[in-house]
Symmetry: C2
Subunit: 114 residues, 2 copies
DNA sequence: TGACTTTATCGTATGTTTACGATAAATGTG
DNA sequence: CACATTTATCGTAAACATACGATAAAGTCA
């Protein structure tokens, strides 16, 4: 049926929608920390993330899942342990979209009449 | 009392927390569109935003409030009409934080062993 | 094989976001 | 002054996000 009273996001055009999705993916400090940890370690790690983030293991796993579904990280299940790492392409796409927005809302040349 | 079972965001350190707040502010396409409209018009407008965004007036007003409380726009109530414009300082702060993150998670030099 | 480790997923509680209509507040207009 | 216009706020419903514990799944190791 798809009533969707509270989700009109599809109304908006592609670029803003995609950017909003990336923004949502990084809209929680734990997820930002996870990205930083993965960058800092310069390699894939697994349960080490859980040790560094003061949240329950299941919660961290959930945040990892969100980052993965946003395309910012990649994960490989490898037996009992999982291996996550940054996804260069996804990060590049996000960066391009954000920089596009920043360029548009560059305020140097905007004179506000308020 | 402040039991806060579902809000552990304050646990995280300042920079990630602040970045997450900005990210949340732009995590809805309507809010991104509003920023773009304000930039494009190169001036403060009021109900014109409502005409350009396919959402109810009260909903747009709510989005404007969020952008304002995030520090990305400024608004002046001027009698029956309001006047919003981009907030250069807030946008600059957000940009700096995002670019700091992008620099950290720059993946050119990260070799994934997955 | 049985115990252990590691991680994902399920179930659930609680809080937050998104959306709308209705209404209030502030001001201008006939 | 009554009325229209404009916008914020209130109330509310539905959906989503966040967090946890419990448990399942899939491997390792003694």
């Amino acid at each position: 049926m798809c009533i969707m009273k509270n989700n009109k996001k599809e109304i908006f055009k592609g670029e803003s929608l995609k950017l909003a999705e990336f923004a949502k993916a990084v809209s929680h400090p734990a997820r930002i920390e996870i990205l930083k940890i993965l960058a800092e370690k310069n390699s894939c790690i697994c349960g080490e993330i859980v040790l560094e983030i003061p949240l329950a293991q299941s919660t961290v796993s959930q945040h990892l899942k969100e980052l993965k579904s946003a395309g910012l990280i990649a994960g490989e299940i490898d037996g009992p342990r999982s291996c996550y790492c940054l996804n260069a392409e996804g990060i590049a796409v996000m960066r391009r979209l954000f920089e596009g927005l920043f360029a548009v809302i560059e305020t140097d040349n905007i004179k506000c009449k308020c």
